[in-house]
Symmetry: C2
Subunit: 502 residues, 2 copies
């Protein structure tokens, strides 16, 4: 059987199956029948030098798929990038080389550097199925990666992508482990630290399960989808940037693993540390501040959990050439007033511009974090970082630097506000004890965040406030009346997003 006999013309299915490449093949096509593919769920696809293993879906109602053609899902099309008329070859796939390593981890064995290299290689080479990736993620969850394995995984993930070289300069970076809506400190911290003359090439994520990621919030104010050359230009000019990391392939395995980790949502310090530090190492950072909000509805639930995570971060950081400082912060309530890209951007600008009604809690956290970063300087006198950060903010130096960074990234734009809004009020009187982070985030997402940049929630009460019945709790912002109604229905059905006690 010659190669031509196992080839098919490629068409684009126009079906988005997220990161999983899918091939659609007709049940009655000659290749499918000759090869016996219909019984498979996985299929090897080769186009010139590019090879992947995709999931096979057999098409019975063949109207839209021509004879002698196979259709590719969006992910498969992006990976293989066929030109018009291209034919790909289809084969029975061999089990991926990392099969035995994944199996070993499932059975509780310790994995070697070679094991992690094989696994990460098969992930970035698009040879693992979602099921195999889910098995790997599950097998590593909880406490099932020790520190040595976390180091190996971190290194394997870093080696899978680019590493930026800043020529020996001291490079600073920060990261927040998350779980706290509205905690949009990064753009302000970067502005302060760059205004202090330090180099801070900050890359951030878009939201995956939250109402806004830092990249979404920043994008309301300036372009973030820069490539590596543009990132360098901004940082070499202004000292800092806030760009979208997903465009940079700094840790390509992380981008793929995250799509499995997030829906499953298992706690795994090993995976979290490897994800964060592989990206920090790849961006060429040297001194890194990790913000760990702690609270019952945050990602890290207790001081003991924070301490354990901090220890792992420090140990792995050291092994990959990073000097890590961990800052434990309060994770009990959302930060600032806005939750959603534009609403958070407005909080950021309010703090930078020293508006009188700027959220004091956001300002406070920003100064804590920027101060801690400034204290990482090798020559710094201990403990004066926060005061220096406050001076740079209050003098307007941070605001000017932020505007300069936005201009360098492609141009600043002022955030606008959503047209459709509704205030949700207290159904009884009492002191506001707590705000459920997860539920308020859900409301913001039902309102349309982050896809709708102007959508989200604006908080109108803070923990500690004494409220009468009917007092405003929060305002839902939405870009369409339908989304507003949807979020409001959900909010009104929830008894205790805002926990009030008499």
């Amino acid at each position: 059987m010659t190669a031509a006999d196992t080839s098919l013309h490629l068409v684009r299915a126009g079906i988005d199956t997220y990161s999983q490449p899918v091939v659609y093949m007709r049940e009655d096509c000659h290749v499918c029948r000759a090869e016996g593919f219909a019984a498979l769920t996985r299929i090897g696809v080769t186009l010139g030098p590019k090879s992947i293993i995709a999931t096979l879906n057999v098409v019975t109602e063949a109207g839209w798929l021509p004879a002698d053609a196979a259709a590719l899902s969006e992910a498969a099309w992006a990976l293989l990038q066929p030109r018009p008329g291209d034919r790909a070859t289809f084969v029975h796939p061999e089990p991926p080389a990392s099969d035995s390593a994944i199996r070993a981890k499932v059975y509780g064995q310790e994995l070697t550097e070679a094991d992690f290299t094989a696994i990460i290689g098969d992930i970035t080479g698009r040879r693992l199925s979602e099921l195999q990736m889910a098995a790997f993620v599950t097998a590593c969850a909880g406490e099932r990666l020790n520190i040595a394995e976390t180091i190996r995984l971190t290194r394997a993930m870093q080696r899978a992508g680019e590493t930026l070289d800043w020529g020996g300069a001291e490079v600073y970076d920060k990261h927040c482990v998350g779980g706290l809506p509205g905690n949009r400190t990064t753009p302000i911290v970067v502005a302060i630290v760059a205004a202090a003359g330090l180099m801070i090439p900050k890359t951030s994520s878009r939201a995956i399960t939250s109402p806004a990621g830092t990249a979404d919030t920043m994008e309301v104010m300036a372009p973030v989808a820069l490539d590596i050359a543009a990132l360098r230009r901004v940082v070499e000019t202004e000292g800092g940037c806030v760009v979208w990391g997903g465009n940079l392939a700094l840790s390509p395995a992380d981008d793929l693993l995250i799509r499995i980790e997030r829906p499953l949502d298992f706690d795994s310090d090993g995976q979290l540390v490897a994800s964060v530090l592989s990206k920090k190492a790849a961006v060429g950072a040297r001194r890194v501040l990790i913000d760990v909000p702690v609270g019952p509805t945050a990602k890290v639930r207790s001081p003991a959990a924070a301490a354990s995570l901090a220890q792992r971060l420090a140990a792995v950081g050291e092994a990959v050439g990073l000097s890590i400082a961990v800052h434990v912060s309060d994770g009990t309530a959302p930060v600032g007033r806005g939750i959603g890209p534009a609403l958070e951007a407005r909080d950021v600008l309010a703090v930078l511009r020293r508006d009188t009604d700027a959220p004091a809690d956001l300002r406070g956290r920003v100064l804590d974090l920027a101060g801690a970063l400034l204290d990482l300087r090798p020559d710094a006198a201990a403990g004066i970082g926060r005061a220096r950060a406050a001076a740079l903010l209050d003098s307007g130096a941070a605001e000017a630097k932020f505007m300069a960074i936005c201009a360098a990234q492609g141009g600043f734009r002022e955030p606008s506000a959503a047209r459709h809004r509704a205030v949700v009020t207290a159904t009884a009187a009492g002191r506001l004890e707590a705000i459920d982070n997860r539920r308020i985030a859900r409301i913001a997402k039902l309102a349309g965040a982050p896809g709708r940049k102007l959508a989200g929630v604006r908080l109108l009460a803070r923990p500690g406030d004494l409220l009468r019945r009917g007092a405003p709790l929060f305002e839902i912002h939405a870009e369409t009346p339908g989304e507003l109604d949807y979020a409001r229905s959900y909010a009104e059905a929830q008894a205790d997003v805002f926990e009030l006690r008499e």
Copy 2:
């Protein structure tokens, strides 16, 4: 927002996504935009009383999907069974109730009966994604289910389906844990045991990853897709049957879990025991013989592993009202001469008909197993089962009973032979030490088994044989020249499917 606003007309996508229900929705459809579904990967679908959670794939090239419609994959269509003009409602899905139980198992905790009931309920209720099922399967793999948990899982799986009631009769059953190509003892054992006057309502699987399942082999000779009423009629008339279990919903959770377990292929005694015994309990069995072939390329690799499995089978069996006997057999080589549905059927008939060239190893195993089953009779004198089984076989009683069972199941048909064949010969001289079970099975599958019923491999040499160079090793059978070539290319590229030593 009224229900009508979140509803769409349903069309059939004609795309087979296996057991995972998928909904295809246009990116620009009103429901997708209003609800913000495009960011989701999972979506709730309700049609009348039926509700599932499906994976959402967003369609950008919308040619084949009309406006105001959503398309369903084959699995989703089969679950919801829309009538023409039906509109379904689409909602953001709540996390499944078993989420916390799965998470607990991932973190290594022991699960309760309520936990397993919730998990099995969400599986059969089609609320878990493939990723969540993969996480559950992974978390239970290796030794991570103890005996108490295995009992709870077995009970939960049994309760999820029908249990047949035989009115207090002594009901016998057998099962082989597998991994041994050609080991098609069941049709003959059932015939012998039924000829002895015992009741044996045997249900069997189709192949999932092997070249033939018992149901595939039996189906060459008689219909197997009987429903429960038909199964009862056959058993009440003839005492025994060999039918396809997949049609009977005896353990619906098992049917769904197996589609995740097989591609992942992790060893898990807990899952294996729960899978097997839930089906035996559901069919109303009381006395069960489990055949465990042991060998380096079988499913169970060592006597110690067999002993551990046997202990778990016995303990769980007792807890669910089954009297289990385990028969450890030789798993070092394929059994009989045929591998593939029709080729194995011909071996079965050769043994039943007492043909002079019937495979002696298959006959021997059949007598061992049938004998062991007869020895399970409460009133039986110990150890005479095998002799009784031999007498029933040699007298022709078993053959007559088999023909009667086939007639009762819908009619006997004589297996034919494939038209396209090729013999593979020894490339050097030597004694045949071993045949690699996994590789010979692969060759049979590449030749087209089990989809092509006549396809597979006919063994022409046995371990122990002294062979000269050029001696025939095996003959590949295929229904098309292309499949024959494909299998032959693979076979000729493999150096040591047949391990010869000088």
